[in-house]
Amino acid sequence: MDIQFTEEQELLRSSVQRLLRDQYDFEARRKIVASEEGFSRTQWEAFAELGLLAAPFSENAGGLGGGPLSTMIIMHEFGRHLVVEPFLETVVLAGSLIEHAGTPEQQQAFIPGIVDGNKIWALAWTEEVSRFDFANVTTTARREGNDYVLSGTKTMVIAAPWADYLIVSARTSGDDRDRAGVSLFVVDRRAAGLDLQSFKTIDGRRAAEISLREVRGQLLGREGKGVALLEAGRDRAIAALCAEAVGAIGELNSATLDYSKTRKQFGTTIGSFQVLQHRMVDMFIAHQEALSLMQHLSLNLSAGDPGLSRLASGAKSKIGYAGKFVADQAVQLHGGMGMTDEFNVGHYFKRISSINIQFGDPAFHVLRYAQLDAAA
């Protein structure tokens, strides 16, 4: 059903909207992406001041207790503005892993730094052949005193070049691809033995390949139970990414609609061509359905529904296909404009393409959805 936002939620939404409208238009974003660092610490501080970085955390953990619905609200607006700052990585992924799996000491040590905007985090789980499988881990960790020592290579770690801390998955027991025996570790990004090779991503972010040579890290959560933690983290990340995708879809639809009403070809606006009208109707329907499913997922996440992980995969898949369809058509209907780097439509296309890769593509998740049903 339609979520009727509480006053607090409405306030959150309108304040994010105002901030981004004032400070994060497409030109401002271009400058941020083109800057040396590739993201804006000023913006990050503004997010912190507005309480965005505290919003989803429970009040016990020093947050505002907004939960998944506040994440949904924030990410939806971030999607509309193509925000590149690592809210997903720092708050939704690392923050929630620390909150859910960390010891009280770890929570006290790390969450305040996230909430006040001082520390940025990234999650390093991908390896060369892991594809979308959390259990496919060859990086190893062995115990040494109270700490662990990690060795191996992680790749495609988004936001790593910006990060102060990494959460790294590594194998403490079992064979490659065993579900059991994977553990999570907090690693300082500037730790000895850790090397970073940075590169750009298609959606204007930065990522890195990370080599670990006997790097010290501290265990996060129970040893050997990392896959389950990552799966729960993925469910939360999916809800956030779905909201971001729906924000982007909405913007693409309104941009395309506006364009179709002004752009002329053969003496008439292209919006008068029935083929393009029906295309835009299907884009509208895709947006409506994606929006509904996004709300449904975030509500279920808030309620802690037991079938949540299956639902998350389903939503990732359905919203992923919807996003791909809308992005393809938005570029097509914009013609040459859709292909240029100067114009925003292509950047929404690329962000949606990225969302459809992060944590598994729509084909992966629809099969996961099907197989969890068959197993039930």
């Binding site: 029935q274 029906h278 109707v281 299907d282 709300q295 898949s317 359905k318 629809v366 099969l367």
Partner: protein, 393 residues
């Protein structure tokens, strides 16, 4: 997916569920209720709902409606369709009834409404004509005033279940010189009138659901005119726009997906690569249904708050029919070679049908459901409607 219900609404839902469980007639549970029941059998459930006072959820209380909230109506719709009950005849209760109580005079209300509710009168719809398709304003059936009667001549087509009907509501042209949408009147015609002939149209699934109706010098008393002469188009649009809260067919689709899953499990070995493909295709359709259902719930919640649903009915019509067509196609594919067979109509227990029982109606359902994207305003027309609403053209 369930609405987050208030305790009162939850109690209502439980009451509806229990009532269906205890009262839905066993003899209506045949392989294909739409084609396999006699007129009398298909009225059984109508009469039970009538006695319960639940036959006309959308009607105002004064005319015999139950006085439910939007949410209650939605719950009732959802529960009955999930349980697979045969809906009461839409042409009577959902379509002509509201036209009569909105635009009819007191005599008409008094004469027709109680018989619609009780099931005594079976109505059919005289809108389409050969050549009209989704463009209803091209009505050519003529009604000429002669004293206290109209003399009606014309040819209506695609008239659903006219073979059972007692009455037909018709669009007729009363002013041949006016513009297409003016000059149309809304007339109620007794099917037993001399000059009314019903000719069956057999559809590609072999069933007899629709008919041609020929009207030759049919004398219709002027008191059977609804509202004003030449204002029929207004009432016709009202009727078309009298959208039900549930056009998406979630309950039906959900039931058929369950059936599809059982068939796939029975027919396709788990080690056959086709098995995984079916699981994937089923998953995609389940997600289509889930997204549509979430959209429907969102719209219902908005309507309950007084928000205009916009072109939602067209969206539900498009997606609901596309989804159901996909499901019937998957079922037809899942039964493999048995998809070549088709039951003969009228159905008889003596005629052999190969394969397991779950396959027996698959072909006819697959073929019959091709109509869904055509009838009731083709999906192309629905997209035009949304284009207008969305593009603002």
């Amino acid at each position: 997916m369930e609405l987050a219900l208030s305790p009162e609404d939850a109690a209502f839902r439980d009451e509806v569920r229990a009532f269906i469980r205890d009262h839905y007639p066993e003899e209506m549970r045949v392989p294909n209720p739409e084609t396999d029941l006699t007129k009398e059998q298909s009225l059984l459930w109508h009469r039970i709902l009538y006695k319960k006072g639940w036959i006309a959820p959308l009607w105002p209380k004064e005319y015999g409606g139950p006085g439910w909230s939007i949410t209650q109506r939605f719950i009732f719709e959802q529960e009955t369709s999930r349980a697979g009950t045969l809906p009461p005849l839409a042409f009577s209760v959902t379509m002509v009834g509201p036209v009569i109580y909105t635009f009819g005079n007191e005599a008409q209300k008094k004469k027709f409404l109680p018989r619609i509710l009780s099931g005594e009168d079976w109505w059919c719809q005289g809108y389409s004509e050969p050549g009209s398709g989704s463009d209803l304003a091209t009505v050519r059936t003529k009604a000429v005033r002669e004293g206290d009667h109209y003399i009606v001549n014309g040819h209506k087509t695609w008239t659903t279940l006219a073979q059972h009907a007692d009455w037909i509501f018709c669009l007729v042209r009363t002013d041949p010189n006016a513009k297409p949408q003016s000059g149309i009147s809304f007339l109620l015609i007794d099917m037993k009138s001399p000059g009314v002939t019903v000719r069956p149209i057999i559809t590609i699934d072999g069933s007899h659901e629709v008919n041609d109706i020929f009207l030759e010098n049919v004398r219709v008393p002027v008191e059977n005119l609804v509202g004003e002469e030449n204002k029929g188009w207004t009432y016709a649009k009202f009727l078309l726009g009298n959208e039900r809260t549930s056009m998406a067919g979630i309950g039906r689709s959900t039931r058929y997906i369950q059936k599809l899953k059982r068939i796939v499990k029975a027919e396709i070995p788990a080690d056959d690569p086709a098995h995984l493909e079916f699981l994937r295709d089923i998953a995609r359709i389940e997600l289509d249904v889930l997204a549509l259902e979430a959209t429907e719930l969102r719209v219902v919640a908005q309507m309950a708050r007084g928000i205009d649903p916009g072109p939602a009915a067209s969206l539900f019509k498009i997606r609901g029919t596309e989804i159901f067509q996909d499901i019937t196609e998957l079922i037809h594919r899942a039964i493999g070679n048995y998809g070549l067979a088709i039951r003969e109509h009228p159905v008889s227990a003596n005629r052999f049908m190969p394969g397991p029982e779950h396959a027996h109606t698959a072909s006819e359902k697959y073929l019959n459901s091709r109509k869904l994207s055509i009838y009731g305003g083709s999906n192309e027309i629905q997209r035009n409607i949304i284009a207008k609403a969305v593009l603002g053209l």
